[in-house]
Amino acid sequence: MSVKAKTLLVLAFCAICLMGIAQAASATHPRPKGATPLRASVVPAYKACATPNRTHGAPLAFPSCNPPAQASDFLTVGTPDANGVAAANSVGFIRLDAKVGVPGPPDDSDILVRASISDVRCKPATSASVCSSANAADGPDYSGELQGNATIRVTDHYNGPSLTEAATVQDIPLPVNATCTITADTGTGGLCTINTSANAVALGAVKDGERALVEVAQIRIDDGGADGQVSTADNTIFARQGIFVP
């Protein structure tokens, strides 16, 4: 066998090995056929009960803390027997939808993010600059920012030097900002909405055909702190995924 033939044989063997490795790298990623949407209703967030002073009624006879302590220091929602408004009006949700793109450029796969939460009211500690629309009872409308947050764990095929390898990414936060506006109705607080996508938040985050499996931890909504801005450090948890049984 000539030197040239030997060289070609070695190169061919290496190419086959590399193909095998690449295939093996992407061959360890079981995934569903589909998983969408994730639609989370949200409820006011309460602090954890650390020092119980009551007991809940049976059969859920667990230690409890009276009074309940809202996790947010800056925002609340109208509730007749808590803050004197005529009726509880707040309704909120956050929804994630997988958008399946057409294979090939441009990358049009995405994760759509929509959220809305109504009757958002300021507590006394919040800056007057974002609390300027008074209501008939309880706090004024909130016109600052909110931020949806969830830790995500992404497993996909867009890793390694050639961006073709399957891997699980270290857990990362996924913050999405909402803007709030005042309402003309003095019986309800501000309205906060989000209508965006993962690629709008981080261009190119979701690509066609990468088999992106996204585990989503508990979804919560943070307030904007005293100044109503989510970029400053004093934000607290306003709402989290949950349900309400009246």
């Binding site: 079981p30 009276n66 309940p68 989503v216 949950g242």
Partner: protein, 243 residues
Amino acid sequence: MTAARRRSLPVLCLAMGSMGLLIVPQLAGATHVRPAGATPFRASFVTAYKPCAAPNRSHGAPLSFPSCGAPAQASSFLTVGTHDANGADAQSIGYILVRVKTTSPEDVLITSSISDVRCKPGTNASVCNSPNAADGPDYSGQLQSNATLRLSDHYNGPNLDEAATVQDIPFPVSYFCSNTSDTSTGGFCTINTTVSAQIPPYSFDGKRSVVGLGQFEVSDGGADGNVGTADNTAFLRQGVFVP
């Protein structure tokens, strides 16, 4: 003080005491803000992976974070069909739907299903007895959904009329899985229940229950397929999948 005034004093004290008692429960229940409504909650499920503790790769931009190849499934006992991973077509779809029933008796309705659930080699043959054309056999053991609850309501204290937040509690719900006759898809797991059925005789009526929900996770039944034993591992978690 006249005799008439002395006679009226106990009555006055009783009246003031009664008013005080009326005010105390009102104050106790006056610190519990709540929404007009919060329902439904629907989570789709994705395959659960172990966290990346010792990165050996990096994800492509813009999510240029450290990553771990190859991905490691969190479940040691179950999987789902995926053509380039195990030769079976991707068929699995799973979700949980939690809805509030607002008419008396108020309740929380829980519906969930997960398809194409397959055994890995470590799972007991007694719950893996329906082979498929490719990859593992159907799973016919148990699954268990779990989410931590943080409950704030008006059903606390000696008179069961005080508002309070309960310490976080787990809320496990078990599924039963069955074989399918189709040799291209795995087992089918389902649950259709209510909270009052899970913890009888609980009634939600008028308690203004604000229920914060943690992340939903579905555990397998361990090697024996029984969620009552201790070796269960995470199989699925709430999430989304972009193909």
